[in-house]
Symmetry: C2
Subunit: 329 residues, 2 copies
């Protein structure tokens, strides 16, 4: 059982900002993005610097939208997929704000919201910004092969999203409620194929979701949407099957950020992935739909594969973890 926590004072999401890469800007949901980049390098010399600038832009967007100064924000929580989460550290050094770096792979976005919400709900922080990013090109060369090698992609592979998303959480009266959360456990089904991460993550997403249902006494129909982070097409099928086996039919509520971020054609295979996948889709498409009343209650389940290139080379399987946040209502 994952640990479910209830936020009695219901901290609010009062603002979001999203930055999308060139490929993501062609998505069906591209009207919802705050900032679209038409250059993978974002005018920088390296992909890592481009990702850092993108995440910086994404956090700065929150400051600009809400006319805030650095001293108005208590803490920025952030993480990304680069070794030592340097996109986060190097973007946040430009802000005169306290910083908590966190990492649970592509589950980092929900993790940051959970920790930030504990801080705000408990009265320790007046507010916080939570942000995550990923970048296709920096991820490819770090986890797989240099792009210049032109490697063939296997059929179960996903495409790391170039994008970033951020949310501002506050004690405000107005905004979208953060009701509760479930902190996930690591679930390892022994998948060793680093190109099949949907399968590695799906069991952990089911574990966290079922924990949440049982602890809160809710059912799939209590929610308008159950959003997973980046299971992709194949992983989503496994997720729905495993939910069904555990007695929960989520077919009508489920969408996956990795599935909706691209107009899935052959070259993206299973869809998007990356720490920026769920944060980009949540802070744009999903947030706006909740804001406009088209969605009321949403479960966001960010799904992470806790591998590194070293563990894969050393023959390890891929542990999965998923964190859940109950939003809206």
């Amino acid at each position: 059982m994952g640990k479910t926590i209830i936020f009695n004072n219901k901290p609010k999401i009062i603002s979001t900002y999203s930055v999308a890469g060139p490929k993501e800007s062609l998505s069906y949901i591209n009207d919802y993005f705050d900032c679209k980049i038409d250059d993978d390098f974002f005018q920088e010399k390296t992909f890592e610097k481009a990702e850092t600038k993108m995440l910086y832009r994404c956090i700065l967007g929150i400051f600009e939208k809400n006319k805030l100064n650095d001293k108005d924000i208590d803490v920025i929580l952030s993480g990304d997929l680069l070794n030592q989460i340097t996109a986060s550290s190097f973007s946040i050094r430009n802000f005169d704000c306290s910083y908590l770096g966190i990492y649970n792979a592509c589950a980092t976005f929900a993790e940051s919201i959970i920790i930030g919400s504990m801080g705000v709900d408990g009265g320790y922080l007046k507010n916080c910004i939570c942000a995550t990013s990923s970048h296709f090109s920096s991820a490819e060369r770090q986890y797989r092969y240099p792009l210049e090698l032109g490697s063939t992609r296997p059929p179960l592979s996903q495409w790391t999203v170039t994008g970033a998303g951020s949310v501002l959480i506050d004690r405000s009266e107005i905004g979208i409620n953060i009701n509760s959360a479930t902190i996930g456990k690591i679930v390892d089904f022994g998948i060793k194929d680093a190109n099949n991460m949907g399968s590695a993550m799906a069991p952990s997403a089911v574990d966290t979701l079922v924990s949440h249902f049982k602890t809160t006494g809710t059912k799939p129909r209590d929610y308008d949407l159950i959003v997973t982070g980046d299971l992709g097409t194949f992983g989503s099928r496994i997720f729905k099957d495993l939910c069904w086996e555990r007695g929960y039919d989520v077919e009508n509520q489920h969408i996956d950020c990795g599935e909706i971020i691209y107009n899935i054609k052959e070259e993206e295979f299973q869809g998007g992935s990356g720490a920026g996948c769920s944060s980009l889709v949540f802070s744009s498409y999903i947030y706006r739909n909740i804001l406009e009343g088209k969605l009321k209650r949403v479960l966001l389940i960010c799904t992470g594969a806790l591998l590194s290139s070293t563990t894969t080379l050393q023959g390890e399987s891929i542990p999965g973890i998923s964190h859940l946040v109950d939003i809206g209502g």
Copy 2:
């Protein structure tokens, strides 16, 4: 100003466990360690697996000492220096507990205590385990050179501690108080030498400490000990000088975990460093001295250098961050 938070319900540290590597086991404070390893490989095939096993041993130690089962612990918070913090993820997958992965380099230990304390103090968690590790050999080959190369160490370099430390935080009546904390900001003084991390981190430690003094209205003499994480000998001198410049003389209270972990001789140069340095020294020597009443009030300031080998190669400077926890009293 770093963000200072007060824990009104005073969560307690009720147990610790420490694991020390072969070199660390020869330290002056080696009588305080719970577990000493006499083999860098810890019977594993790789240094990364050895570090993972060491961190596992360190968390398991808390379970054994306190006769706990997995279901007795709400959340484990952990981080380490390996890419994608895999020592943490791969050790914690052996426990049936919720997991929050965090990363602020060698400031991770204090960061984990701050987040865990918010969770326990706010009533969200009944308890949590916070643990961090580092390993000399896995760090050398990831951040610097393979050991087999036999590279010469420059005079300002530090020796990454092979070790791990963990604490159990609970709402218990009995135990050592966690009174307050200051979440640090990133401070970057433009140091670009990855072998001179004490200088890169010292300004952030001063920033966090001075923030804490100002916000809480306390002075150095209100504490028995002001413990920095891993500034080393040279970094500690900079730290004390900068504190003095800001109007605080910490000469009589200050010790550095990196300085006391080794019997500093020529080959360790500036002393120890690493995410396991402060956690090992705190969870053994310092904890026991508080427990035995020899120390009352202690400020633990874990100091992190937020670089990666990629950022150094790309010509970036080294941002520093320090988190502070006020313990005891």
